[in-house]
Amino acid sequence: MAKILVVDDAAFMRLRAAKLLVEAGHQVLEAENGRLAVEIYLRERPDCVLMDITMPEMDGLEALAEIRAKDPHARIAMLTAMGQQAIVMDAIKRGARDFVVKPFAPDRVLAAVNKLLAA
Amino acid sequence: MTLTESPSLLVAGIGEMVMSSSPDAHLVAYGLGSCIALAVWDPRIKVGGLAHFMLPNGPANNSSPVKFIDTGLDTFLQAMEAKGAVLTRSSFKAAGAAAMLTVGGGLAIGKRNAEMMESALAERGLTITATSLGGNAGRTVQLEVSDGRFLIKSLSSVTEL
């Protein structure tokens, strides 16, 4: 069982991801924007993070960079509707280990989590 | 929708104005968001007009005579005078200028429309009698030519100015 932080501004998406992860035996923390994600990450030190990109307050790419700056070993995958090459490259450059484009198949998210946890 | 088939219902589409002196006429502008409607009514001769303005300022426009407040207001007021309205005794009621979409940041045109309407009328020595401006709800407005009542309908309420 791992502790996973799900970051998404849409309550619906957090619920969907949480259901999937809890059913796979994990513990789930939630944040609704990048700023809260950084706070919760530093306080709770989850095993990995699934991070949306387009969010109010602080977007996911900024939050990714900020978390990685404070914890270079942070294991973060992007889970976002934006799949443009330039954005994927930017996220990888900032330290994202995987990139899942919505709408996602449940297996794809679980595979991303397993990959993060194995790293 | 049956109402629109009635000849007494005159619709001011976006950028358009309608006028009437017929006692059974209803002048309507549907679904105002950031746009602003101005209703003018002369109580003496019972002539009314409704203009559906879009933006604060820009050049005079032939296809949409009241697209811009600064250049279209005179077009509208002159058309009302041509119908016999005397502006100094007329009522001026304005509605609309809401802010529907907030995420873009650049779409706050409603507030500028409201400010421009007030200052453009003041410059001409005219004062707004009543307003229903701003907020974040859309409005459909209706001017009753018979008695000058100005009805404001949103999805949740109907009010009268």
Partner: protein
């Protein structure tokens, strides 16, 4: 609006927008688990009043998900549903996520009343659909096309669309409007996708398509 599109230029944009709208329909289908038919997208120049007519008239009540587009290409995107269709889509999206008794009332007496989770589901459906459109456009561009966070509004179509139209017509009489309809196989859910680009920002796309100046 400084750019006047040639017919060939407009056809090139129409082709790309059409493919992007098909992708958007596929994304909505995949998210909802429904078979979504995408009506042949159209791209045309029209007046503000014509756009309102295309949306069902200014007084028709819609549930709209709005996404602003910025970055290498700018404009506005809206996914519109009738209030009843929006409820049906929300039910489909939420089915299986909530336990028994937790699902919002299927037959609400007020068709304009949505529960927060329903709104979130619909907002996310709009986000995913419009992002899929942008992802396809982005295939042709070096710099990304960015969406704003989505905003969901239940309103008269005129009220939702006028701010967007005002942004586009301040120095032009016409706007470029792309539209398609998504229909769920059983016709229980129809959605309309509008994309209204700033015409002067299309140059980057025309350059990328090799269609600028033709």
């Amino acid at each position: 609006m400084t750019l006047t599109l040639s017919e060939a230029g407009q056809n090139a944009v129409a082709g790309t927008f059409g493919r992007a709208m098909k992708r958007a329909g596929e994304a909505l289908g995949s998210m909802s688990g429904q078979v979504i038919e995408v009506q042949t997208p159209q791209l045309k120049r029209c007046t503000a009043a014509e756009v309102l007519t295309m949306a069902g008239g200014p007084e028709s009540v819609v549930l709209a998900v709005y996404v602003g587009i910025f970055g290498s290409l700018q404009g506005h995107a809206l996914l519109l549903f009738s209030p009843a269709d929006a409820h049906r889509l929300a039910q489909i999206l939420l089915a299986g996520l909530l336990g028994p008794g937790e699902l919002p009332m299927e037959e609400s007496t007020d068709v304009l009343a949505y529960d927060e989770l329903e709104l979130s589901a619909l907002q996310e459906a709009g986000n995913v659909t419009i992002s899929a459109f942008l992802n396809e456009l982005g295939m042709h561009l070096h710099e990304p096309v960015q969406p704003t966070p989505p905003q969901v509004v239940i309103e008269m179509a005129g009220a939702v669309l006028d701010a967007v139209l005002l942004d586009l017509v301040s120095d032009a009489d016409q706007v470029l409007a792309a539209k398609t309809t998504f229909s769920e196989g059983g016709r229980a859910i129809d959605g309309t996708l509008f994309v209204l680009p700033r015409a002067d920002s299309l140059r980057v796309l025309l350059d990328a398509l090799g269609a600028f100046g033709i």
